[in-house]
């Protein structure tokens, strides 16, 4: 079995913010596990897809959640008519056959779940399957990438120190003004002036981070707004639908955001 289904065949659009591509490539060459940090919607997942395409590696993505157990990652015995049969989990798949395993939002998973990656992320590069009594040696092309949003919830949910210290980390933020305009213009297929207005609006909402909002509008939200605008929705309505309503339920804050949006529109 190979992971051909997990290969990415078309180049995902990605505009580098800095030297993250070179860093990723170097880490890949050394097979160092990588941690991507940054707020939601700033392009972490897109970056991983882009790198998987660039390195021609299959990409196995797991979105982590609270109820996830180690078996969900590693695999488990299932029953069929002949008896029990082992099924590899997504992590084991990537470990066996080589490729990038991307654990998205890893802090959502419980800490005792995430320790299964420990033996994979140091020089041992092995995955013991204790139920099956097997040790899987990682394929030379196996690389573990995790993403991690050091936001407000990191007080209750945080990685163990011993987990954190195994990774090389890349820090992502929202792109600089000009760059973000270019990204929005490209992704939403809108003129650059329109994109610039959207970015200006987003900067207003990012000013409210920590003053009522947990996060400001992300680049992803801007692209959504741009896509609505391109289909003929007015700018104010598009921003309201994609950048105000999803962000907050507080009527006062919505009002403040709408007023701030209005102040960006001549």
């Amino acid at each position: 079995m190979t992971l051909d289904d997990y290969l990415i065949d078309r180049e995902p659009f990605y505009r580098p913010l800095g030297d993250e591509i070179a860093l990723f490539e170097a880490s890949w060459a050394a097979r160092l596990p990588i941690m991507l940090k940054g707020p939601t919607g700033c392009g972490k997942t897109r970056f991983v897809e882009h790198m998987a395409w660039k390195l021609s590696q299959p990409l196995v993505t797991v979105s982590c959640h609270e109820d996830m157990t180690a078996s969900d990652l590693v695999g488990r015995y299932l029953l069929d008519s002949e008896g029990t049969k082992w099924h590899d989990g997504p992590l084991t798949l990537a470990v066996r056959h080589g490729g990038i395993c991307y654990l998205d939002e890893i802090v959502e998973a419980r800490q005792d779940t995430t320790v299964v990656i420990h033996s994979l992320t140091d020089d041992r590069r092995i995955l013991p399957l204790e139920k099956k009594n097997e040790v899987v040696r990682a394929h030379p092309d196996f690389l573990l990438v995790i993403s991690y949003n050091p936001g407000y919830q990191s007080v209750l949910k945080d990685l163990k120190e011993s987990t954190k210290q195994r990774f090389a980390a890349l820090d992502f933020g929202y792109p600089e003004h000009e760059l973000e305009c270019a990204i929005v213009a490209n992704e939403a297929d809108v003129p650059i002036q329109e994109a610039a207005r959207l970015v200006r609006i987003a900067e207003r909402s990012r000013n409210l981070k920590g003053h009522g909002l947990n996060e400001g509008a992300s680049t992803r939200m801007l692209i959504h707004a741009g896509q609505l605008v391109r289909r003929g929705v007015s700018l104010q309505a598009a921003c309201h639908a994609t950048m105000v309503l999803p962000l907050t339920d507080d009527p006062d804050l919505r009002d403040a955001l709408n007023a701030a949006i209005a102040s960006c529109i001549a």
């Binding site: 488990r76 029990t84 007080v155 200006r200 409210l208 920590g210 003053h211 804050l253 209005a262």
Partner: protein, 763 residues
């Protein structure tokens, strides 16, 4: 508010005090009375006067009635003036002479205002009812009747009075504070009754809007009242500290919100594009006003270049029209409009020149010095045109702009220049700092009146504590406990300013917000999935497979095939113990705050979190002066609400003396021990290792504290300690164990970290 009129009957009292009106009745009758009570009515009116005399209400009251009742008769009806006698009698009976005297003048004003017999009777009834329920406040209300009726109609007045009675409840002191406007709620309710939009109702959204613009964090307060009983009419800023009028009189609903929004955006533009303050130098009031106006226009231009939509916010308020009259009051608003509204046409040479100066070199607009240059040039022109400028009556137009006090540096300025600035600002305005101070000073004694048990300790001898317990101490050298060795004194709190906690919460809004989201997350206790249960809501897949494997292998399967989701309830009480010893007086490095202030802020934030979670919690503090005097302050107890009294107690906590840690912890443990919760947590914040004046051996108190922690652990009380940048971590680790103590290297982090720690400890 009452002007000179209400005081005049008082003067008359002295003249006619104690005596009936003399001699022939007809002699004393004024022309007004003859006109108001024509024909037979006059005799009846005189008869009413005798009625008052009969019940002993002559003198001041009678004179006052005779003076004011003709106005009532003229404005409403003679009958109303006759009926009013009964109201006066009742008032005198319920609330005393002076109230009855004031009722007469207030009645005349009310009659003139209402001009309707029914309405006047309604007013009279409202007075009687209020006086009956709040006799102590009757004079205060009547003294202010003129102001009240100028701002409210009868319905509004009635509902304002009802609010006052409700706010005061059965407490005469509280009622009086409301009706004499010592309580800010009075003014707010009044504004609400007038229908004007209140800033307080919209504060959060307006402030959020201003922050969204350029990310500045503003502290916004309402203006206090001036001596005139009204608020300043313009916003005013000083750095990020902004004061706004509590309402813009006559502006309601959406219009008021738009005005506040314009005002906040304007100040935000000042903060974003201004650079420091202007030096006052020897500028004249008119030049100050002009430079301020140009600066206003300059920051608005820059702001609109970045956020074009702001024009919609500001421009509609510029309504000045071109005209021929050349006074400063008319010219300045025209100039303001000329500089923001490109379509505005004004042929005036001076305004055209100003426009040219302002717009011709747009590149210069980014430099505040431009404002000064243009303002001075224009000021000279006005001087040559001999245009007068009255600084006393000048008010910045349009209404959304601020009073410009924040633009000028008045620290280094000489007194004369300062005076002219203040004249411009508004002749009646108090200086901001003074105003705030005065309010605070006024507040403290006022409030302590109502709470005699919370006295100011400076006025009392030092030793006012009560000895409450004698506790043992551990002597490590002897290896045994010394029974009844330490005396704990319950020490009274010093109440501090009541709004201190609110200010802290507002200043640390980012932390508060994080806390609030954590509170929300923790409140809805997270579901926990319990696996391998004999019964439950779902099949446990892993257990089923294991059971099937067992079955096929011929072993007995585990019957726990299900899993269920459980919510664990929070069940803990927490006591936060603050070290208030002398060393907490030290300044924190790189800050103007003392260690204790940081501790208090952290306590305020933590208390906010605990209050939000409704965990029972207590705030206690201690210091010591030898083993015979360990002072223990209970700022807030478990069964006490976290209300203003607790806020005050926390705000008023001061440093002093030493740290006899073990004794304080044992005593704190005695409170926790009485709590009926599953977990009991003692959280200590200290700035160093234990010490006291009567102990030389450093190890002694450390070992005693360690013993105390162990003793508490036996009682089921967990102790955790946060040490502050002291280098005492070895001692603290020895006392509490390394896992149960945390030393912060940067004290500034404490207010942020303490609540976080709490969430982690109580998870």
């Amino acid at each position: 508010m009452a002007g000179s009129e209400p005081s005049s009957p008082l003067r008359l009292v002295e003249v006619g005090a104690g005596r009936p009106v003399p001699g022939s009745e007809m002699d004393g009758v004024s022309a007004q009375a003859r006109q108001a009570f024509p024909g037979p009515l006059l005799a009846r009116w005189l008869h009413q006067g005798r009625e008052l005399e009969k019940v002993g209400l002559y003198g001041g009251i009678l004179v006052s009635y005779q003076r004011y009742s003709p106005s009532i008769a003229e404005a409403v009806a003679p009958q109303a003036a006759f009926d009013f006698v009964r109201a006066i009698k009742d008032m005198a009976f319920v609330a005393g002479r002076q109230a009855a005297i004031l009722l007469c003048s207030a009645g005349a004003f009310a009659a003139n205002r209402l001009r309707d017999p029914d309405a006047f009777a309604g007013w009279s009834r409202a007075m009687a009812e209020t006086a009956e329920q709040a006799p102590e406040s009757a004079t205060a209300i009547l003294e202010r009747m003129e102001m009240l009726l100028r701002r409210l109609d009868l319905g509004g007045l009635e509902s304002w009075l009802a609010t006052g009675l409700r706010v005061g409840g059965g407490d005469a002191q509280k009622r009086y504070q409301f009706f004499s406007f010592a309580d800010p709620i009075a003014e707010r309710t009044l504004i609400r009754e007038t229908g004007d939009a209140l800033f307080a109702d919209r504060e959060y959204r307006l402030r959020s809007f201003a922050t969204a613009l350029w990310g500045q964090e503003m502290v916004v307060r309402e203006h206090g009242l001036l001596a005139s009983g009204l608020s300043p009419r313009r916003a005013s800023f000083d750095g990020n500290f902004l004061r706004v009028p509590p309402s813009y009189p006559g502006v309601r609903g959406g219009a008021a919100e738009a005005l506040y929004r314009a005002s906040l955006a304007h100040v935000a533009a000042h903060l974003r594009f201004g650079r420091g303050r202007f030096d006052l130098g020897s500028l004249k009031p008119m030049q100050i006003a002009l430079v301020s106006l140009i600066e206003d226009a300059r920051v608005e231009q820059l702001a609109m270049a970045e956020l074009p939509g702001l024009r919609r916010l500001w421009q509609p308020y510029h309504q000045a029209r071109a005209g021929t009259s050349l006074t400063a009051e008319l010219l300045l608003p025209r100039l303001a409009r000329a500089l923001i509204d490109p379509d505005y046409e004004d042929e005036d040479a001076w305004i055209s020149k100003a426009r040219a100066l302002f717009f011709d070199r747009r590149a210069d607009l980014s430099d505040p010095a431009t404002s000064r240059r243009i303002g001075n040039l224009l000021g000279n022109d006005l001087g040559q045109m001999r245009i007068q400028f009255n600084a006393r009556t000048f008010v910045v137009e349009p209404a959304y702009r601020d009073d410009n006090l924040g633009l000028w540096d008045h620290d280094g300025a000489d007194a004369e220049a300062l005076e002219s600035l203040q004249e411009v600002v508004e002749s009646l305005r108090l200086e901001q700092g003074e105003e705030a101070d005065a309010q605070q000073q006024k507040k403290a004694p006022d409030d302590s009146q109502g709470q005699p048990q919370r006295v100011n300790p400076e006025a009392l001898p030092e030793e006012t504590g009560i000895p409450v317990a004698r506790l043992p101490e551990w002597d490590y050298a002897a290896g045994r406990q010394r029974p009844q060795f330490v005396t704990i004194w319950e020490w009274p709190q010093t109440p501090g300013p009541g709004d201190w906690v609110k200010l802290v919460l507002q200043r640390r809004r980012d932390v508060v917000q994080r806390i609030d989201s954590l509170v929300k997350a923790a409140k809805v206790s997270r579901p926990i999935r319990v696996k391998r249960q004999p019964e439950g809501e779902q099949l446990d897949l892993d257990a089923c497979i294991a059971a099937e494997i067992d079955r096929r292998q011929g072993r007995e399967p585990d019957p726990g095939l299900y899993m269920l989701t459980e919510r664990r309830q929070r069940d803990l009480s927490i006591l936060l113990l603050l070290d208030a010893s002398q060393s907490t007086e030290d300044r924190v490095q790189g800050s103007t705050q003392s260690v204790l202030q940081v501790e208090k802020e952290a306590a305020a934030l933590l208390a906010h979190a605990m209050d939000g979670l409704s965990d029972p919690f207590a705030l206690h503090a201690f210091s010591s002066n030898g083993r015979e005097e360990v002072r223990y302050r209970r700022l807030k107890d478990f069964d006490q609400n976290y209300d203003e009294a607790a806020h005050r107690a926390l705000a008023g906590l001061e440093s002093g003396l030493s740290t006899r840690l073990g004794a304080a912890m044992r005593h704190a443990g005695s409170f926790l021990d009485k709590q009926n919760t599953h977990r009991k947590l003692l959280l200590l914040v200290t700035d160093g290792e234990p010490s006291d004046i009567d102990v030389e051996d450093q190890r002694y108190l450390t070992e005693d504290a360690r013993q105390a922690v162990q003793g508490l652990a036996l009682q089921g009380i967990d102790c955790f300690c946060v040490g502050l940048e002291s280098g005492a971590d070895s001692a603290l680790a020895r006392i509490f164990g390394r896992a149960n103590s945390l030393t912060l290297d940067r004290l500034g982090h404490l207010p942020d970290r303490l609540p976080q720690l709490y969430f982690r400890l109580t998870k």
